[in-house]
Amino acid sequence: MDGGAILETLRARFGAALTDTHAQHGDHTAVVDRGAIVDVLKFCRDDAHLGFDMLSDLTAVDYLKYPGREDGPRFEVVYHLYSVPHNHRVRLKVRVDEDDPVVPTAVPVWPIANWLEREVWDMFGIRFDGHPDPRRLLMYEEFVGHALRKDYPINRRQPLIGPRT
């Protein structure tokens, strides 16, 4: 299925929950309302024509100092979906604000989201509501802050941790 048709299918099914769509260089993107993201992901996986059976990536972007985006929602959680039988892709985005950085978890839809969401929590401090194991993935428990946020100082040093007893 061609990318424009994928976006048309999603728009026909979810209507106003798709706040924005765009395409650039053949990559089609839909910006989805936070409350509808799990339904959209389920639909993408289960619909026979879409058939997105793979969540190839789940990550986030911090738009704190991005030109033109300073006063919009600070974070964007990005889902990259791929369909092995149809060989097509789509990108879904959810915008979340700094005051309330919570997104419903995608683990029931794709188990691979477990570690990816833990990484996003670790690096950006975006919580995933309903996640079965919401610990840090890369950094250690004693780490303070979230390292990939744009306001994390590059020369900030964390206290060294001693051997666990």
Partner: protein
């Protein structure tokens, strides 16, 4: 100087001479410097000429700790524990710029020099260091061992 002190100083010298040619190293290899470490250890550069040809993969049987490669904050407690498990006398070699100063990993994840965790005797800079500079560092370490200079 009496006869007794003459005898002990000569004994220390003999022990130092024996120790510097029987280095049992523990290679703590975490990153790409390990390749250069292997090149140095193998027959072409032949670290065995200096009596350091037998790495012991147990810290309890080693007396020189080679820290080879980037040490992250998450790895730091492990390195400290390995160092604590070694028996005295023990020496530490920081191999490559990452272990010496953190190198270009000036970021949230990397220890900025292992001397913030454990004492270091010889620093070998380079990214990675050439085998020649590794051998130079090893010979400097031998000089320290021979006179019994330690930092622990």
């Amino acid at each position: 100087m009496g006869v007794g002190s003459f005898f002990t100083s000569k004994l220390d010298e003999a022990i130092g001479w024996a120790r510097k040619y029987s280095i049992f190293q523990y290679p703590f290899v975490t990153a790409c410097c390990g390749m250069e470490y292997m090149a140095t250890a193998c027959s072409h550069y032949d670290v065995d000429r200096f009596g350091a040809g037998l790495p012991r993969f147990s810290p309890r049987q080693a007396d020189v700790l080679f820290v080879v490669g980037t040490i992250s904050h998450k790895m730091a407690p492990v390195l400290k524990r390995i160092y604590d498990q070694m028996t005295e006398p023990k020496w530490v070699v920081a191999f490559g710029v990452c272990t010496c100063t953190g190198g270009f990993y000036d970021n949230y994840a990397t220890v900025q020099g292992i001397d913030t965790i454990i004492p270091v005797d010889v620093y070998i800079p380079g990214c990675p260091p050439r085998p020649e500079s590794v051998l130079d560092g090893l010979m400097k370490l031998q000089d320290k061992i021979a006179v019994g200079a330690q930092r622990y």
